[in-house]
């Protein structure tokens, strides 16, 4: 209650006036923050533009620099792989004007959340260059946003979860400063979170960048701050002027961006380099992804490699998807064979679909009604034992198979 008590003692402070019109004033240069010198002493550079001040930290890396298991220069190999294929893929790029980009913000969402740190990694003058812009204080936001240069057209940004977080947040900040800033154009945007979810579905349980680093990229952070503390550290630094904890946030952001680059290398090679594989599961996921993107040739290549490399048990999902690829191209005999090969080790949920496909081909192509009846009955037996299906879905499946079964039974009579 003490809060309410405090408040009520302030009741006398409420004064009322008729609401007045406010008009938009022209841009007023903000004052420099009181802690300007302190932050400079901590190693941050200061840039002044027409809108105010921005703190900047630049870090360069030689192409030979290793982050985890990957050399930074391998990114050129990844670009080359993408340039060799014709189709568009969610993570394909020609390698021109590529920026690896990540931000830190003061909160999770809404107009009261500021972006206070923007990190951009590019290749320039034969070396990799990381530029981190740090907002001096919220009144210098226009200066900060302008200085990031993110408004410049024809860029490709590569992010981790940037499509649903960083970029919309940037758009929000831009809208709030749109009177003074050049228009923010929509870049070509590659979000590696989406790709990671596709590639490691069923393999990784967590898709935090730090866990991917450990599991896949051969990198373990030492002395990192947890990402969720970043807002509080910045808020504190602005209120108290002490930049020391803030430098840890900069380091955190640096690691994020370096890992973004190595993750891009790793994912690109998994997708496009035939001999570069992890497990049957990863390869199957990749083949399925290609199929969903209608890149059937690439998809078939992946699956063929799995079925020729791994035992039937591990390759069953690949056989299953190959079946659908064949079905798509009307090669029903081949499809039948693939579904039959898949059947034994398939997870039950998929097994129902495989039975359905087999029954269809038996009924309509081979006219082996007896066999089709067997498959339909097998499927019907499975349905009840599947807790992952909803009741409505179960009813729907059951109806479909029973209909098929009745029809088949009539046919053999």
């Amino acid at each position: 209650m003490s809060f309410e008590k405090n408040l009520l003692q302030m009741k006398k402070l409420i004064k009322k006036k008729p609401a007045k019109e406010t008009s938009l004033a022209s841009f007023v240069m903000p004052n420099p923050p009181a802690y300007l010198e302190k932050w400079k002493d901590a190693g941050l550079e200061v840039i002044e533009n027409q809108f105010g001040l921005v703190f900047v930290k630049k870090t360069v890396y030689s192409p030979q620099f290793f982050h985890g298991s990957f050399k930074l220069s391998h990114v050129f190999h990844a670009f080359k792989l993408w340039n060799q294929i014709e189709e568009q893929h969610p993570i394909s790029t020609n390698g021109q004007n590529v920026v690896f980009f990540d931000t830190e913000t003061t909160g999770l969402k809404g107009t009261g959340t500021y972006i206070f740190l923007s990190g951009q990694l590019v290749f320039k003058n034969n070396q990799f260059e990381l530029t981190q812009h740090l907002m001096a204080d919220p009144s210098h936001e226009t200066a900060f946003l302008y200085e990031t240069g993110l408004w410049k057209p024809n860029q490709t940004v590569i992010t981790y979860n940037g499509k649903s977080f960083d970029w919309p947040q940037l758009e929000t900040r831009w809208t709030l400063n749109r009177t003074y800033l050049p228009k923010l154009s929509l870049p070509h945007h590659i979000d590696l979170l989406h790709g990671s979810r596709r590639v490691w579905k069923g393999d990784l349980t967590q898709f935090k960048l730090t866990s991917i680093e450990v599991e896949k990229l051969g990198f373990k952070r030492v002395g990192d701050i947890p990402g969720h503390l970043a807002p509080i550290i910045y808020l504190d630094a602005v209120k108290n002027g002490d930049p020391h904890a803030l430098l840890k946030v900069l380091h955190h952001n640096e690691w994020d961006i370096l890992s973004l680059l190595t993750l891009f290398i790793h994912s690109s090679k998994l997708l496009l380099e035939e001999s570069y594989t992890e497990t049957a599961l990863t390869s199957t996921n990749i083949g399925k992804w290609f199929a969903d993107l209608k890149m059937y040739e690439k998809s078939q290549d992946q699956f063929d490699q799995i079925t020729s490399t791994y035992e039937k048990e591990e390759a069953s999902m690949a056989f299953y998807y190959i079946g659908f690829n064949y079905k798509r191209f009307n090669r029903k005999e081949d499809a039948y064979l693939s579904f039959s090969n898949a059947l034994l080790h398939l997870p039950l949920l998929f097994k129902i679909n495989a039975y359905e496909e087999l029954a269809k081909i038996d009924e309509h192509l081979f006219k082996r009604f007896g066999q089709a009846i067997i498959y339909s009955k097998e499927a019907l037996q499975l349905i009840d034992g599947l807790p992952e299906l909803t009741e409505t879905k179960k009813i729907k499946l059951r109806n479909a198979f029973e209909k098929r079964l009745n029809r088949l039974l009539k046919k053999i009579k």
Binding site: E4, L7, L8, V28, T111, P138
Partner: protein, 755 residues
């Protein structure tokens, strides 16, 4: 075979029936009123005229035309719109016209609930379809699919939403709504009268925030409000929107003859003033109307009672096969079920519908011939809305008010002028409540930084912003106050309560599917959510099984019992400041701030209708402190009265004052508390305190301060006229017989008349 009687014939029969004559306390007839029509405005778009004609409308009612002219002249207005007066055209016409003239133009419709917005959307869609124009209208609420949200934000000409969504889903993300805010021409607030008390005060701030965002994007929208009959629609609209309003009070819709009947069930227990159960009387009346083939709507107060009545009435039709002529209608029905009932009422297959108050708000079921109200719905506005359900355009209508034995009901039935006279309640809001103001100041700061010269709505806020800086939420730079916190304030603030920390009410009737029913402020929850309390939610009874005071959670389970619970609150009250005072000969009245230390002690189980005490138990909760506003009356001790006499008389008087405050200021019974002190710590004089139940106060006691003389006069009259001998729940609370306390209360009240 006998023929059915018409309403007029039935009334004639009742007039000569000795039994009915005794029970019908008052007759009142409102004469027929012809429609007042106006031509379509000259500039009205052809496609709108086409659509209206398809609906059989060739002329507007005068108020619709007046609304159109005002809106087109960029003048904010509020229209009083009784049921079935075509209120939605008051806003649809100017809004659609402005969009047809300029496709960039946008409108925002606010409805108090999600369900109402969805109802209105179907009607609006139909109208737009009949116009054959490409105007996009969407509802935006928690149910809106993420996939179409972007479309709503960018392309929706008309967005229908509710204040809660505006507060936490739209305003904090205003940058995603640029095309709406840049072009916002009209803001429509439907059901204005529902924005009262704490909720209204919160919404007043949400609207101030909305206007601030509009100003930022360069738009200056016009407000269109529609309201049921209340006594201060213009004042409410102006204080809600902080904008000058014109008032459209003359309604052009026609009305047939309306017969009001005030019916009081017979007394069955003279000592305690107990009457026959209203619900049984309603059953009998409804049966009679059913037999005469008169289409009727019956209002009951709770879901349980609706079900009871439906069961009783269905006996009438049990011999028919698949008979649908009697239906219940209560909260929680699916839109498809509602449509079915609406259709049945229109084509006559449904003859009697029994409803809870769910039907009060805007839902369109068309018009019936008769309406029976079981008891007073709590305020005049609701009563008129219920009554408005009866009366097809030109036909004669019958409205029967059946009084229950509660104080308010008995007052109404004996003072029909209160309901019939032009004195509906006021709806009051109190945006000045500092706690509510601070909450929304945080939200507003989050949405856009304030500059060092800004004010917020009508409020000077620079010192308050400095306070928020001290709290570490804002950071001051050279010219602005910036939000500097990782919190999202709108999520921490509920519009439906003034408290900082609320008790969440969790329904665990189905253990696998627990759901949140609502929340309640801490102070009220001590007496309403203690363990074993019967908690009513939308007419359904729940029993509180566990109250986790630390975690602020109350777990409830649905029950069906015939009693309610009433808890005692031991209160220590201290006056902190005296802001206003008026002195009378024997008494003085005050208004100011008080600090209250309250502790719930015991609760009683009280049977419905008879109000018998059927059990009790202790409540174990820590004391709560509340700072709020209060109005109190201190009087010189009447000579010759002993302490104990005075104490008893004051307790009875406090009960009746508590019962009557909601009659004078539109508020809920639980929005205020009344406390009597024989020797107050403040002035050492006998004192009655009336205080707001919400931290910081919501303006009720401020209003009470203004009406003390009338209030006391009415309380006196009522207790005097109450037919009980010794005092009853309807006047001064149930008393043990033969103490003669009622006389003491009457003496005290006579003494307290302020002149």
């Amino acid at each position: 075979m006998r023929t059915n009687l018409s309403i007029a014939e039935l009334l004639n029969e009742w007039k000569s029936d000795a039994v009915m004559k005794e029970r019908i306390v008052h007759w009142h007839t409102v004469p027929e009123k012809p429609a007042s029509l106006a031509d379509f405005p000259a500039d009205l778009h052809e496609s709108i005229i086409v659509a209206l004609k398809k609906r059989g409308i060739t002329k507007l009612y005068s108020h619709q035309r007046e609304a159109y002219e005002l809106a087109r002249a960029n003048q904010s207005f509020t229209a009083i719109t009784p049921t079935a007066s075509g209120k939605s055209y008051c806003y649809h016409l100017p809004v659609l016209q402005s969009i047809l003239e300029n496709p960039a133009s946008r409108a925002l419709y606010l409805f108090p609930t999600k369900a109402l917005a969805q109802d209105q959307k179907s009607d609006l869609h139909e109208l737009i379809e009949q116009m054959d124009q490409s105007i996009l209208s969407y509802t935006f609420d928690g149910d809106t699919a993420p996939a179409i949200r972007t479309k709503v934000r960018k392309a929706g000409h008309i967005v229908l939403t509710n204040p809660d969504m505006l507060h936490s889903g739209i305003l904090p993300h205003h940058t995603k709504w640029v095309s709406l805010f840049e072009n916002l021409k009209y803001i429509v607030i439907d059901e204005l009268h529902t924005y009262k008390g704490v909720f209204g005060s919160h919404v007043a701030h949400v609207i101030r925030r909305l206007k601030r965002i509009c100003t930022y994007y360069g738009s200056n929208p016009i407000f269109i409000c529609t309201s049921a009959t209340i006594s201060n629609p213009k004042e409410l609209a102006e204080s809600l929107t902080n904008e000058t309003h014109q008032l459209i009070s003359k309604n052009g819709a026609p009305a047939g003859i309306k017969n009001f009947i005030f019916y009081n069930p017979p007394i069955v227990h003279p000592t305690f003033g107990i009457r026959r159960s209203a619900i049984l009387e309603v059953r009998d009346l409804a049966k009679r109307l059913y037999k005469e083939n008169i289409q009727t709507i019956v209002f009951a107060k709770s879901r349980v009672r609706v079900e009871m009545l439906v069961t009783y009435l269905k006996e009438l039709s049990k011999k028919k096969i698949q008979d649908e002529s009697i239906r219940g209608y209560r909260g929680g029905y699916l839109p498809s079920e509602r449509r079915e009932i609406e259709k049945g009422l229109r084509n006559g297959t449904i003859q009697t519908v029994v409803s809870t108050n769910a039907l009060e708000l805007g839902v369109d079921i068309g018009q019936l011939q008769a309406c029976i109200m079981t008891g007073y719905p709590g305020n005049i506005a609701s009563a008129w809305q219920q009554a408005g359900r009866a009366g097809r355009r030109q036909d004669e209508a019958l409205i029967i008010y059946v009084a229950q034995s509660t104080a308010l009901d008995q007052y109404i039935v004996n003072n029909p002028g209160y309901l019939l006279g032009q004195s509906p309640e006021e709806a009051r809001i109190h945006p000045e409540n500092l706690i509510i103001l601070m909450d929304h100041l945080k939200c507003a700061s989050f949405e856009l930084p304030f500059s060092m010269t800004d004010q917020y709505g009508e409020f000077e806020i620079q010192e308050l912003l400095a306070y928020l800086e001290d709290e570490g939420i804002l950071v001051r730079t050279s010219d602005k106050w910036h939000w500097m916190s990782d919190r999202f304030p709108a999520h921490e603030i509920s519009l439906r309560s003034a408290s900082q920390e609320n008790v969440v009410i969790i329904d665990q009737t189905v253990p696998a599917a627990t759901k949140v029913l609502g929340e309640m402020d801490r102070y009220s929850s001590m007496t309403l959510l203690h363990e074993e309390a019967i908690y009513l939610h939308q007419g359904i009874q729940y029993q509180v099984e566990k109250l986790d005071w630390e975690e602020k959670k109350a777990f409830v389970r649905e029950v069906d019992v015939d009693y309610f619970t009433d808890a005692n609150l031991a209160v220590e009250l201290k006056v902190m400041s005296e802001d206003k005072v008026i002195e009378f000969e024997q008494a003085s009245i005050y208004y100011g701030d008080v600090s209250i230390l309250a502790m719930a002690t015991i609760f009683k189980k009280i049977r419905f209708d008879s109000h018998d005490n059927i059990g009790s138990g202790p409540i174990q909760l820590p004391p709560e402190e509340l700072h709020t506003s209060s109005s109190w009356i201190s009087f010189n001790r009447p000579k010759t009265w002993t302490d104990s006499m005075l104490s008893d008389a004051m307790t009875g008087t406090a009960t009746s004052i508590g019962l009557f405050v909601p009659l004078f200021v539109q508020c809920d019974r639980r929005d205020i508390h009344v406390v009597a002190q024989v020797k107050s710590t403040h002035s050492e004089l006998p004192t009655f305190y009336v205080y707001d139940s919400y931290p910081g106060g919501i303006g009720i006691s401020e209003r009470v301060y203004e009406v003390w003389p009338t209030l006391l006069e009415h309380v006196h009259q009522h207790v005097k006229n109450c037919p009980c001998d010794q005092g009853c729940p309807a006047c001064i609370g149930a008393q043990e017989a033969s103490i003669g306390m009622k006389d003491d209360v009457l003496n005290l009240l006579a003494y307290l008349q302020l002149r």
